[in-house]
């Protein structure tokens, strides 16, 4: 009897020990304070997103080349309260460098200050802090100019005439806000375009689809849609299909998730503005390596932003956010 009821505890401990062992190669050397600490912690924005998985892949491959030992962690939600415990654990682990995607510009300041004062050099990747002085270096993409590129591309596609719509996240995410802002700034150059404003979907394709169908009901002459991320794009594709407007209404979307690349190839999306997460990861590790070696680094490192048009399938494949390494 006693044996039977004790097994849950035993199993849990055994599983844990097993998990710890399987992580052996990453950890083994870390516990000994080796003369040259080349440990790098990478804290992503959210677990299981193709964008951050691609970033993580780029980082791990580059770390292998540079002789860095990288450990990756990621919160279950893209939110400060989920990410802060991980940043704190990284502080306890005392790596030489921590590359972090701060999920909130303000809430992460205190934990990152703590991390930096414990002797770990901090890089921010993809997102930024309200107080950038805490980071030894920032790896960013220019979301404002990405928004402008989208506006130029959409204007070209629709002949600079007709109503256009933006689908984005509710305000609060700096990156998404800047994409919309850049788009709106550039739109002023095209007086023929009638801007219908921005509609919000919170990473919800269903909502984005409804926004598109109801906008087409109100404006049957809708010329173009710009979605600031992949979830909005997936919904917009569906909405255009429902309304029988695929191809007639031009869709320009940010990012190059697998679904978006497929849609570009079959004509549902007319153009993509793609970032290069893999390169963000690589640059982060290069900067980390320089910091460990005491070499000078740029305060800010801009990574690629490209427009991929219909027919540029090879380019689309190259930039597609791939999760597997």
């Amino acid at each position: 009897m006693r044996k039977i009821t004790l097994w849950p505890l035993g199993a849990a401990v055994a599983a844990l020990a097993l998990a710890a062992c399987s992580a052996g190669p990453t950890g083994g050397a870390a516990s000994a304070p080796a003369p040259a600490n080349r440990d790098v912690a990478l804290v992503l924005g959210v677990n299981g997103s193709p964008f951050y998985e691609a970033l993580s892949c780029g980082a791990q491959q580059e770390a292998g080349k540079l002789g860095l030992k990288v450990t990756v962690s990621a919160p279950a939600q893209f939110a400060a309260d989920a990410q802060i415990p991980m940043v704190n654990a990284v502080t306890s682990a005392r790596p030489a460098v921590a590359a972090i995607v701060p999920t909130d510009a303000q809430a992460l300041i205190t934990p990152i200050r703590q991390l930096a004062s414990a002797g770990t050099k901090v890089l921010t990747v993809d997102q930024t802090l309200a107080d950038p002085s805490l980071a030894a270096s920032q790896i960013v993409t220019d979301n404002l100019s990405g928004g402008r590129m989208a506006a130029d591309e959409l204007a070209k596609l629709v002949g600079a005439k007709g109503p256009v719509l933006v689908i984005t996240q509710p305000p609060g995410s700096t990156a998404q806000d800047q994409r919309t802002q850049g788009f709106e700034q550039e739109l002023k150059k095209y007086p023929g375009l009638n801007y219908l404003g921005a509609q919000y979907q919170a990473d919800d394709p269903q909502k984005a689809s409804q926004i598109v169908t109801s906008t087409i009901s109100a404006h049957p002459d809708l010329a173009g849609v710009f979605s600031t991320n992949d979830q909005g794009a997936i919904g917009a594709i569906n909405g255009l299909q429902q309304a029988g407007a695929t191809g007639r209404v031009k869709l320009v979307a940010y990012d190059a998730a697998a679904a978006e690349v497929a849609a570009l190839k079959n004509g549902a999306i007319s153009a993509l503005v793609a970032q290069n997460p893999r390169q963000e990861g690589e640059v982060a590790m290069q900067v980390a390596s320089s910091l460990i070696d005491g070499k000078p680094v740029n305060r800010q490192n801009l990574t690629d932003l490209v427009v991929i048009e219909t027919g540029e399938n090879a380019k689309a494949d190259q930039y597609e956010y791939k999760a597997g390494c």
Partner: protein, 350 residues
């Protein structure tokens, strides 16, 4: 439940019953605490310098503090055989209401980053607003459950959306970025006698609630209502007002957690706390409280909150890939519910 293993029990063969009873009581009572100890030992052995540091200990306590306050309220709710899915959303609403009021009283502008110079009176008013805002949603939950007899799962699922939506309405979706500097400095990152202030608050709340649950009539009635509602009613316990009180308390604690979160983050976090409800429910269940009501302890909840926090921290320090962490947490939860089943089977035999 105290008479279960008496030798004179008639139905099952006495010896088997008492042995089975002793084992399952031991497993149910203490195993989760042993699991926590085992985790601490394993991580300490694997990473002595990193896991078992003073900094990491205070980090673990801090990471658990806000969640613990929410889980205390959830314990009361689950003991009444209810559930509160709205805690995280109510936290967000209360933090927004409180931060807005503090911003207004400090006379500062909207959503610029930084801190305001609001003094202690402003902070005190902000704290009261947070608790009141939490209690408003608690009252809505309680009234709909106790008086309108709508199932708690549905009611709190509804108010979860309503509270979050109201928070977004109040702010236009933009987080309130400026909170009083003193709140952040003394409460959010400050220490009292070397212990983080947030941890002190969480421990005090838990201690008071624990005494209330286990040593007072209010606590006794909470168990009675969860154990057998009809029996409680016939015994003259005002079931409705007891349920109302429990949900009101859970809402108030979400308000307390809200001001703690604002102090800790230096901003509201509208996009966050989406998983707080499930995190608190699983912590309470891990701690041995039965989802069917009538059984539970406050100490168990404390342990139940600490286990995921310790697991996550240890996994990150060990460098275990993130996907494994999710799997491990799921497995631990199922184990806990399995043990819960063992306990109930024992009670039914008694």
């Amino acid at each position: 439940m105290s008479v279960s293993t008496h030798p004179e029990t008639v139905v099952p063969p006495p010896e088997a019953a008492s042995r089975w009873g002793a084992v399952s009581r031991w497993v149910g009572g203490g195993w989760i605490f042993l699991l926590l100890i085992a985790l601490l030992v394993v991580f300490t052995v694997l990473r002595p310098g990193q896991f078992a540091s003073a900094f990491n200990a205070s980090t673990l306590a801090l990471d658990a503090a806000t969640l613990l306050v929410l889980a205390v309220g959830q314990t009361f709710v689950i003991i009444t055989a209810g559930i509160d899915l709205s805690v995280g959303a109510v936290l967000v609403f209360a933090s927004v209401a409180s931060a807005k009021v503090m911003l207004f009283l400090s006379g500062a502008q909207g959503s610029t980053y930084g801190t305001t110079d609001g003094g202690w009176p402003v902070i005190a008013i902000g704290a009261v607003v947070a608790v009141l805002a939490g209690m408003v949603w608690g009252a809505v939950n309680g009234a709909l459950i106790a008086i309108a007899h709508i199932p708690p799962l549905i009611v709190t699922l509804g108010t979860m959306g309503m509270a979050l939506g109201s928070a977004q309405l109040l702010t236009g979706g933009l987080d309130v970025r400026a909170v009083p500097g003193k709140l952040v400095a003394y409460v959010g990152t400050g220490k009292i006698a070397g212990i983080p202030t947030l941890v002190v608050i969480a421990v005090l709340v838990t201690a008071v609630a624990g005494i209330c649950l286990h040593l007072t009539r209010v606590g006794e009635r909470t168990f009675a209502v969860g154990s057998h509602r009809e029996a409680a009613r016939r015994a003259g316990i005002p079931v409705r007002s007891q349920l109302l009180r429990v949900y009101l308390f859970s809402g108030a604690l979400a308000g307390v957690a809200a001001i703690m979160a604002v102090a800790r983050f230096g901003t509201t976090t509208i996009g966050g706390h989406t998983a707080d409800n499930l995190a608190t429910i699983s912590a309470v269940v891990l701690g041995g409280t039965s989802l069917f009501g009538g059984i539970g302890t406050m100490v168990g909840t404390v342990v139940g909150v600490l286990i995921p926090v310790v697991l996550l921290n240890g996994f990150v320090i060990l460098g275990i890939p993130p996907f494994w962490q999710t799997i491990a947490m799921g497995a631990v939860l199922i184990l806990a519910v399995f043990v819960d089943q063992l306990k109930r089977r024992q009670r039914e035999r008694a």
